[in-house]
């Protein structure tokens, strides 16, 4: 997942999520997508066009893709905590933990220090062009 949310302004949150899951060949039923949006706390906004959502809400819709994953995966995320409040941070870390428990790995960049509970975390601090 990139830094940009990849959500089209004119699509509803549900339609945008559906598009992303389809092109990544992870077809989901509407119920599962709604459940993921509910988990991310944006269920009440699912029928609104994306341009009417706040930055934090858009990030949550984009991250809902992670809540739909059921297999262990290798996730590469660029600044996933951007625009999220504390509740959002906790939610994303929960998703990381679940993925790790399934056997997956998460590689992410962040300017916020996080410590997901009980997970081995390898931190790379980059200074200039070398890892310090």
């Amino acid at each position: 997942m990139g830094h940009a949310n990849a959500l089209k302004d004119d699509l509803t949150a549900l339609e945008a999520l559906q598009f992303l899951t389809t092109i990544h060949s992870r077809p989901c039923s509407k119920e599962r997508m709604e459940a993921a949006l509910r988990r991310m706390g944006v269920f009440h906004r699912r029928k609104l066009p994306v341009r009417m959502l706040s930055q934090g809400q858009r990030r949550r819709v984009a991250l809902a893709r992670l809540a739909l994953e059921e297999k262990p995966g290798f996730w590469v995320l660029d600044e996933p905590f951007d625009a999220l409040d504390d509740a959002g941070l906790a939610l994303v870390q929960e998703l990381f933990v679940e993925n790790a428990r399934r056997g997956g790995t998460v590689l992410f960049t962040s300017h916020i220090r996080v410590q997901p509970e009980g997970l081995p975390l390898l931190e790379l601090m980059l200074q200039g062009t070398r890892a310090a």
């Binding site: 990139g2 830094h3 940009a4 949310n5 990849a6 959500l7 089209k8 302004d9 004119d10 699509l11 339609e15 598009f19 992303l20 389809t22 092109i23 990544h24 060949s25 077809p27 066009p49």
Partner: protein, 220 residues
């Protein structure tokens, strides 16, 4: 739904949510073509002679209008990146985008062209030939245009650059498309023109999506 169909459906849905923007090329087509009788004098014989050329040039320019946004908005909000890293091949993505562009721009132009034919006083036979030529030619414009859009993605002045890249490539389409109608009106057979248009259509179907995919990988 396959990823390719998903992209096509999404683009059509987005266009339907902004109908004014989607119909801009068609409006431009009609307005631009209507300017010629006003500027060049209403003499019927002259108009009838230059009508195919005018309609084709205006169709060409109208198709180019919506090219900028073909990949531009997806590039800006990160959707293009997601589409490229998915299992979808670049060629399928390019093909889906070109088909969407043709359905949104080429088909409306095609449907409106008989009106312009009547405006210029063309006979129904000529209108039919012109429409058939546009049926073959507008997909070529969408395919070539997609290639130009992918090449100029993210550059400044991309709108002008697209025109400079794509228009020269589309000159043969213009020549044979308009030439078919002119030939028929002079009593010659338009078949040769249509065969060549068909060949160009096949060539662009095979070549343009591949070139577009390569260009997208460079630009993103």
């Amino acid at each position: 739904m396959s990823p390719m169909m998903a992209i096509l459906a999404r683009d059509l849905r987005l266009a339907s949510r902004r109908p004014a923007e989607a119909l801009l090329p068609v409006v431009f087509f009609v307005v631009a073509a209507s300017l010629f009788p006003l500027g060049g004098g209403p003499e019927a014989a002259t108009l009838k002679q230059i009508a195919p050329g005018i309609v084709w040039v205006c169709a060409l320019l109208s198709s180019m209008l919506s090219l900028n946004s073909m990949y531009g908005s997806d590039y800006a909000d990160g959707s293009l990146e997601q589409m490229l890293i998915s299992q979808l091949s670049g060629v399928e993505l390019a093909a889906a985008k070109c088909i969407a562009h043709w359905l949104m721009t080429g088909v409306p132009l095609l449907l409106v062209s008989p009106l312009l034919g009547l405006l210029f006083g063309l006979s129904w036979d000529s209108i039919g030939l012109m429409a058939f030529g546009l049926l073959l030619g507008t997909p070529i414009l969408s395919l070539m245009g997609g290639m130009g859009a992918a090449l100029t993605l993210g550059l400044r002045n991309s709108a002008v650059l697209i025109l400079l890249i794509v228009l020269p490539l589309c000159i043969p389409v213009l020549i044979f498309g308009a030439g078919a109608v002119t030939a028929a009106e002079s009593g010659l057979s338009p078949d040769g023109h249509f065969y060549l248009l068909g060949a160009m259509f096949l060539l662009s179907c095979l070549g343009a999506p591949v070139a577009t995919a390569a260009a997208l990988r460079i630009s993103v």
